[in-house]
């Protein structure tokens, strides 16, 4: 790509007529002409020495895709003589439109970082302590890894576990490699927003967490959403920020609900400093306010949710002989199957049928929340009752229930109110809290409405919508405990994995993996409960790590480290949509790798080849064909190992791009135009909501889970939160002794969010770990800003305590009963910008019963006490 | 020329040099709105100013040392 293609950043008329210049080489020019630079400093100047001809510099621009974050922004790499000197935003890319976040720009240092793993490493000391390493050849390393994986697989494929942090080419890794090897797959899900994902999948059938329709939303509850500090659902940061700003300029009102004023901080009109872990009562109280003031969308509730379903005394739906749930038809005064033509279902009511009393789900919900008054919630959440009422009133007013708007010829419901939430599901009642929060836009009829509640980027039924409704409980779960009687719903990487590894029999798990391949994942650093993780990973007999840097996990437990490339590789394909405009992009290597590193695709191709699973109908290449949806004639030949570039060339041609991968090498991104209303707004679709109807206000199957779990002998602690409506109970952590008088929560910073990399530029911006504390709380403990403190956490179930030391940082914008610590410190080793930057809060968090949700998702909340650090 | 005349001439010349160097030859005074304020109008104007200061003081030396006493100045 030539630099003329770079546009959109020009200023008025030029003052100098400089077109293409021959640059003086900096090194030659400065060092060459400097005379007497010793004692009195450098004595000027830049003119080249006589006889020294200035070297011409060759400049070009390579489009590519950001590697560091999760949202894959388009980038342009400026190269001089083949080396990248700057990364800028790709103007055409819908997600970032010519701009980059601080991490995006900073990742240039990763390309040259001499602290990376520069060649395959073989451990030479025992595991569990800081590693000593010997560099070995790629062939030796791959042979060894393949041999150990193969040996385990031959005995039992589930002895081989593949674990990823964040990977960027799912079809080639998660699907093809895992498929070809039959590995047990683990990922970071339980430590992410998975409880929220499950709640959304179960409640409205979409994968994602709540976000608004920024082009139209007028009133936003920013609920634990970390826009200015950390990002959000779907995008790591930048796209949401751009859309929020435009919406604010348009007049969007933002209410921030968070124990610590960060989420949308600068952009919030009002702050509700909620007590951590009490979001569910707040949501239920808001639901009650909405129902009491009668600002509810009855047609939506009746037609598109199970609110009108009739409930029997035992909590199950009244069904006909075919098993279809029944509703009360007010015309005929009889129960009729939901969705029948020509009936008028009752939303509310208690009826007698067949000698028994039935009532609608909605009536039942009203009863369920009859005690959830704003006063009740105020007591629990710390938000004044009148403020809850006010927010409820504003929600009702702004929802404009009944109004419609014309978009692309479709007349669509217009409900410009929404909730933005992300990692706030990381609490013990996270799954049910998210369900309760979803009820708010459901009552308002805002789900999928213009300006209303969105979850995924498209309205496509997620497989869990049906799957979660089919209660299947196995007595022989694997280490993820998925389908077990303890955590039947989980993301196939429960946060219990470490505990199960330590004591598999306790959970009825018969065997644990022996060989692990860790792909860009650092459980010891970035997952809570470092202690449990250490014990678990110590049990693995062989660990191979794919990572550009030496993570804490690798340093302590890897036998072999395979150095991965960062930006300098082909990878993809990546979605480029910003909700409103669609695009697809590839990652293009902007320069040759400097170190002896390889792209993951190359590593997997080589491993599969050595394992004998590359070729053949069920081999890796066949699975790549399948997962990339490659159709003849554009399919990979199954008998030949391709290069990554060849894979993407065939893929691109299959997409109808005749230049193949060269198109992306020239342009970086393929624009697909605006997302049509018929795809974007579910009510504009042929079958509204893509057929995902009815949305589940009532979780009949949740009750089913509870019953089956109890039947199989699981103690109440496991099934008590499987309730059809969200039920508030005091969280387990409140059982810690009174001296643990503060809540510790953690947060992300824009400098590191989802990057996990030791990049100096951003490390300099946020250098060390701190404990944020309200000054009043600090002074009550005799602490001043900058003091060293000891933070001690307590496990209310086991009584275990853990301690770290860090530095106090005053923040007025945090509840006085809450302290907070950022993540991304102390997670890597062997890097001058990471060593000594402080402990990760993951040391203080617990996992296991009481500290995970009923879906086995991690809680980032624990009671702690804070005191002056003991003098050394 | 007599010593007084020379001395006075040097003082006058020195002060004039200072004056011109300061106000006319060096970078202009006033709100610096253009690159012109960063460069002397005559190269080495500051050196001329310093020379002017020296000239004034040197006049005293010349005044005293100007030949005519009983010894030759071998300074």
């Amino acid at each position: 790509m030539t630099k003329e293609k770079k546009s959109g950043t020009r200023v008025g008329p030029k003052w100098g007529q400089v077109t293409r210049r021959t640059f003086l080489q900096g090194v030659a020019a400065t060092s060459g002409a400097v005379a007497g630079s010793s004692l009195f400093g450098d004595l000027i100047t830049l003119s080249p020495l006589p006889g020294e001809s200035p070297k011409p510099l060759h400049e070009d621009w390579i489009p590519t895709t950001c590697w560091i974050g999760k949202q894959e922004c388009g980038m342009l790499a400026r190269r001089i003589n083949g080396h990248v000197v700057k990364l800028e935003g790709l103007p055409a890319h819908p997600r970032n439109r010519g701009t980059l976040c601080p991490k995006g720009i900073a990742q240039i240092q990763a390309l040259y970082d001499p602290n990376r793993v520069k060649a395959p490493l073989l451990r030479t000391n025992e595991k569990g302590v800081k590693g000593t390493w010997r560099e070995i050849s790629w062939d030796d390393a791959l042979d060894l890894v393949a041999e150990r994986i193969g040996e385990a697989r031959d005995r039992d494929p589930s002895l081989f576990v593949w674990q990823k942090g964040r990977s960027k080419a799912k079809p080639l890794y998660d699907k093809a490699f895992v498929g070809a090897t039959g590995a047990l797959k683990l990922h970071h899900g339980a430590f992410c927003s998975d409880a929220g994902y499950r709640a959304m999948e179960y409640t409205i059938g979409m994968h994602g967490v709540m976000h608004p329709d920024f082009k139209h939303t007028q009133y936003l509850l920013s609920w634990g959403w970390n826009i200015t500090g950390g990002g959000g659902n779907k995008y790591c940061w930048l796209t949401w920020a751009q859309q929020l700003v435009e919406a604010r300029q348009r007049g969007l009102r933002v209410i921030d609900i968070d124990p610590r004023l960060r989420s949308a901080a600068h952009f919030a009109d009002e702050w509700l400093p909620v007590r951590p872990g009490t979001d569910m009562p707040l949501a239920l109280a808001l639901c009650k306010v909405l129902i009491d003031q009668d600002t509810i969308d009855r047609p939506y509730l009746t037609t598109y949710t199970n609110s009108s379903h009739l409930l029997q005394e035992d909590g199950s739906f009244l069904r006909d002989d075919e098993g279809s749930p029944l509703v009360w038809d007010e015309e005929t005064e009889t129960p009729r199957p939901f969705g029948s033509e020509g009936i008028s279902p009752a939303l509310e009511g208690v009826y007698s049928w067949d000698g028994a009393q039935v009532r609608t789900v909605f009536s039942s919900f009203k009863d369920h929340i009859s005690t959830a008054t704003p006063e009740w919630a105020a007591e629990i959440t710390g938000i004044p009752a009148n403020q809850i009422r006010k927010i409820g009133r504003e929600l009702g007013d702004n929802a404009m229930i009944g109004s419609t708007i014309e978009i692309e010829g479709h007349t669509l419901p217009y409900r410009p109110v929404a909730i933005m939430a992300y990692h706030m599901s990381q609490q013990e009642l996270g799954f049910q809290a998210l369900r309760a929060m979803t009820f708010i836009p459901m009552l308002l009829g805002a789900i999928g409405a213009v300006g209303g509640q969105f979850t995924d980027l498209t309205w496509k039924e997620h497989k869990n919508w049906k799957k979660l409704d089919n209660i299947e409980i196995t007595d022989t779960p694997n280490i993820t405990l998925k389908g077990s009687k303890y955590y039947p719903i989980n993301s196939n990487n429960s946060s219990l994995v470490a505990h199960v590894m330590k004591d598999p029999l306790r959970y009825g798990v018969s065997g644990i993996p022996e060989v692990a391949l860790l792909h860009h994942v650092n459980p010891l650093g970035s997952f809570p409960d470092q202690k449990a993780n250490r014990e678990a990973y110590a049990k693995l007999k062989f660990v191979a790590v794919i990572d550009p840097w030496l993570s804490l996990t690798a340093d302590l437990y890897a036998d072999v480290v395979l150095p991965a490339s960062t930006l300098e590789k082909y990878e993809g394909p990546m979605k480029g949509t910003d909700q409103y405009e669609d695009a697809v992009a590839l990652r293009i290597p902007p320069m040759e790798p400097i170190f002896d590193t390889r792209s993951e695709i190359e590593i997997y191709l080589d491993l599969c080849e050595r394992l004998g699973v590359l070729n053949g109908e069920k081999g890796y290449l066949a699975l790549v064909n399948k997962n990339l949806k490659l159709k003849p004639p554009y399919t990979l030949p199954l008998d030949k190992k391709p290069t990554p570039r060849e894979i993407y060339d065939i893929w691109a041609k299959g997409q109808g791009i005749k230049e193949g991968v060269a198109f992306f090498e020239d342009n970086g991104v393929l624009l697909k135009g605006a997302v049509p209303a018929s795809k974007r707004y579910p009510m504009a679709m042929d079958t509204p909501f893509g057929g995902v109807v009815p949305h589940r206000l009532y979780g009949e199957s949740l009750l089913g889970y509870a019953r089956k779990m109890e039947e199989r002998g699981a103690p109440e602690i496991y099934w008590r939160d499987y309730t059809p409506f969200p039920v508030w109970r005091t969280p387990t952590l409140e059982g810690s002794p009174a001296k643990y008088d503060l809540y510790l929560t953690s947060f992300h910073k824009i400098e590191f969010k989802q990057s996990r990399t030791p990049i100096p530029f951003v490390r300099e911006l946020a250098p060390t770990q701190v404990l944020e504390i309200n000054p009043s709380a600090a002074r009550a403990r005799g602490l001043e800003d900058g003091d060293r403190v000891q933070v001690e956490s307590h496990n209310a179930v086991t009584g275990e305590t853990r301690k770290i030391e860090t530095t106090v940082r005053f923040r007025e914008s945090i509840r006085p009963d809450v302290v907070a610590m950022p993540h991304h410190y102390g997670e890597h080793t062997k890097h001058p910008w990471v060593d000594g930057t402080g402990p990760t809060p993951n040391t203080l968090f617990f996992t296991g019963e009481g500290y995970v949700s009923n879906t086995a998702d991690q809680t980032y909340l624990v009671k702690v006490r804070v005191s002056k650090a003991p003098r050394r | 020329m007599n010593r007084t005349a020379i001395a006075i001439w040097m003082v006058v010349a020195g002060f004039s040099l200072q004056f011109f160097a300061y106000f006319r030859w060096a970078a202009p005074l006033g709100a610096p709105t253009s690159p012109a304020f960063s460069d002397p109008r005559i190269p080495y104007a500051p050196a001329a100013f310093i020379f002017g200061v020296m000239l004034v003081f040197l006049s005293a030396v010349v005044y005293e040392l100007q030949g005519g006493g009983e010894g030759e100045s071998d300074g």
Partner: protein
């Protein structure tokens, strides 16, 4: 002739500090040296608190105290309204630095080659040509700039001279926006010709009430702020960066 200036829309700024990093890469400034600094502020007492952000590039004052005090005319105003440092002339007296009320000047306390972010002289980087001690040096910075052809672009040039924001003079010459403004993800930094009433910054100034920092100092900054209020003594800085130079 264009006379450049910047308008910063505080109602858009997220305090993400991408501009600071964009500046660092573009201008090759050494460790600890921030030509553009984004304040993160907190005001008030719980629960009545407010968080705000304030990017602070060089103000490129029209009545610049730094230009006035520079003993050798290294710090100068250009006809385009820029306040620049000629690093070929600077003697390193740091008078500009003490005269500036905005704290924008950065002195090279040590040899920039020895003040880079990582040890780029590592043998594993053998194949990479280093310029100014770094592998991603911007070659434009060594070129003389502007009608006067002075060496004013870039940072980390040499030990013992003062450097600061140049509004990316080398990019302006190519008709490009300063790196910070070109990158700002939310369009908070609006740059252009303030003499041209149709330029984006001029339009913004017409549309919104604006202020300049430390207006009372009479420095006549060419950087304007809209969509917010100037910091007060009640503004507490939070999340300060690590701007450190060590031996």
């Amino acid at each position: 002739m264009a006379r450049y200036g910047m308008v910063i829309d505080l109602s858009r700024c997220h305090g993400c500090r991408a501009c600071m990093v964009a500046c660092k890469v573009e201008n090759n400034t050494p460790k600890g040296s921030f030509w553009n600094y984004v304040f993160r502020f907190e005001e008030g007492v719980f629960p009545e608190t407010r968080v705000s952000f304030l990017p602070r590039p060089c103000m490129h004052c029209d009545n610049a105290p730094c230009v006035k005090v520079c003993p050798v005319g290294s710090r100068h105003k250009t006809l385009e309204g820029l306040t620049l440092t000629d690093w070929d002339r600077c003697i390193g007296c740091r008078y500009c630095e003490v005269a500036c009320p905005y704290g924008v000047n950065c002195f090279n306390w040590k040899d920039p080659k020895k003040n880079r972010y990582l040890d780029w002289s590592d043998p594993s980087l053998e194949g990479v040509e280093l310029s100014h001690g770094m592998p991603y040096a911007n070659p434009d910075l060594d070129l003389p700039q502007g009608s006067q052809g002075r060496h004013t672009a870039g940072g980390g040039r040499m030990k013992g001279v003062v450097e600061k924001c140049t509004f990316c003079v080398h990019r302006l010459e190519k008709g490009l926006l300063p790196a910070c403004a070109a990158n700002c993800p939310v369009g908070a930094l609006v740059f252009g010709d303030l003499d041209d009433p149709e330029s984006p910054p001029s339009q913004l100034l017409r549309e919104k009430p604006h202020f300049r920092l430390l207006e009372g100092e009479g420095t006549e900054p060419r950087v304007y702020y809209v969509g917010g209020a100037p910091p007060t003594t009640a503004s507490r800085q939070i999340e300060a960066v690590k701007a450190r130079v060590e031996r």
